[in-house]
Amino acid sequence: MSQHDSVTTRLSARIAAQFQTPAVRWGGIALILVFLAVLPAVFGQYATVIMTNALLYVVLALGLNVVVGFAGLLDLGYAAFFAVGAYTIGILTLEFGVNFWLALPCAVVGAAIAGVIIGGPTLRLRSDYLAIVTLGFGEIVRFSARNLAITGKASGLSGIGQPWLFGWHIATPTDFYYVFCGLAIGAVIVSLRLEDSRLGRAWLYVRHDEDVAEAMGINRVAVKLAAYVIGAIFAAIGGAFFAANLGAISPESFSFTQSVLILMAVILGGMGKIPGVILGAFIVILGPELLRNLGELRLMVFAVMLLLIMLFRPSGIWPKRGTRS
């Protein structure tokens, strides 16, 4: 197996090396952008809807990647922040008649506050305690949504309006597809900037050895909390547009399975590796779709594929970043 592993490592390293030269990299990026731009016209509405969902997961997975990949914190309740974003939009636009674009910053602030409330006390604990607390938090949010009148109880909220942007009514699936393209690209850019920032390096050090990082002057609690809050903001923005896109949300969209699916995208692609995480998000969403003609067997085949990937590439599909010179 180690033989095999080294072969796949070399292969994927060679593929990654293709992206090292600026010309090839920019060419690749241009190609991806062109592909994204023409997709609705070429592949039709069904593919557009699926891709919209995949792009939403790119945003969510990149957000969770800040927490899990960059800061090294295990979060099993990430869907809760996604829910906070979606429900904030639902409640503010439906119950209080607030404009979507005014509700959006409220959703972001709400998720950030939720991040501080959960993270503040628990980030002092070891990472495995955090996993349990976040798991609980995810369930608390979902159960609250199911039992409170303001969140529409089990049936959720429906009739959430579609926003206008400078005279553009974002209404059709294609409109939303382009919105999610924009969000995903934004998430990628923010992730890249974060990774290269001072905070990004602090996360790297804390992830490797938090005691040493602390002894070198890095406040580990503050740094982890920053990761947690930034991750929550990604999810809230994703959730807000998710609510606007579907027009209806229910508690079951924010289940533990949802958290696990996002986490799977991050781990599958390779924690902390941005292109890998994007790939992971596409795999978890598009994989079951591409296997659709297998009928009943498709989820099982998909699960076996995931197991095989994790067996042969335990640190994710994307090759390890070469050490910077």
Binding site: R201, A202, L204, Y205, H208, D209, D211, V212, A213, E214, A215, M216, G217, I218, N219, R220, T323, R324, S325
Partner: protein, 246 residues
């Protein structure tokens, strides 16, 4: 070097008074008093479990004392976060070195310089570290965790020096090293001191530490059993035999 030392009357930079600390219900320190004067090497000796490492962790904020106080340059740092204490100029080189795996030698050094905002100063310090430890310069692009034990120790010290510390806390720098490397390490500690560093050195190898230090404390069961100028402790063979175990 210990015969006539101006350091004996130098200002006290670091002072522990009546410090008690422990882990849960286990008491590791039962009220200890330690003074470190500027420019000195002070050594903490004692057997395993005597509380040496805990003392260093209490100073650097990794363990919170349950009683007593730690003062650094006249400022009470007992309740400060470890990261804030590091920023004040106390650098802790932990036992076991803690080199970050998967990061290069240079990246490990950059971690030490994290709190140094001036890029020029960071570069200057890195050159200084490479001058002190030429082997690190030669291996700067290699994975730090793949260095030999001695090289890792140098990297750990170099990383602490990147902080530009006023006081260095060294926890068993000779542990696990081959005899020749132990002597090299001791020589480097002496040199750092001659270049102005104040050092609190925890060692199991008492003879070696006392040859280097100006002043020594002997810890036993979380209490200071003996203290004095290094040459006096060194001369007293009964001390070495009774408390230092070799």
């Amino acid at each position: 070097m210990t015969s006539d030392q101006p350091e004996r009357n130098a200002e006290v930079v670091l002072r522990l008074s009546g410090v008690e600390a422990g882990y849960g219900r286990i008491r590791a320190l039962n009220g200890i008093d330690i003074e470190v004067r500027r420019g000195q090497i002070v050594t903490l000796l004692g057997a395993n479990g005597a509380g040496k490492t805990t003392t260093l962790k209490t100073i650097s904020g990794l363990v919170r004392p349950t009683a007593g106080s730690v003062t650094f340059e006249g400022r009470d740092i007992t309740q400060l976060r470890a990261s804030d204490i590091a920023r004040l100029g106390l650098a802790h080189v932990p036992e076991g070195r803690h080199i970050l795996r998967g990061l290069t030698v240079r990246e490990n050094l950059e971690l030490g310089g994290f709190t140094v905002h001036d890029a020029a100063l960071r570069r200057e310090r890195m050159q200084e570290v490479y001058r002190l430890f030429p082997i690190l310069d030669r291996r700067k692009n290699q994975d730090g965790s793949l260095l030999s034990g001695g090289e890792q120790q140098m990297l750990a010290m170099g990383r602490a020096l990147m902080q530009g510390p006023k006081v260095l806390l060294l926890d068993e720098p000779s542990m696990g090293l081959a005899p020749k490397l132990v002597l090299d390490t001791m020589r480097i500690i002496k040199r750092l001191n001659q270049e102005g560093a104040t050092i609190l050195l925890v060692e199991q190898n008492a003879r070696l530490a006392l040859r280097l230090a100006h002043y020594g404390y002997v810890l036993e069961g979380g209490t200071i059993r003996m203290q004095g100028p290094a040459e006096r402790l060194r001369a007293d063979t009964s001390i070495v035999q009774a408390y230092l175990g070799d």
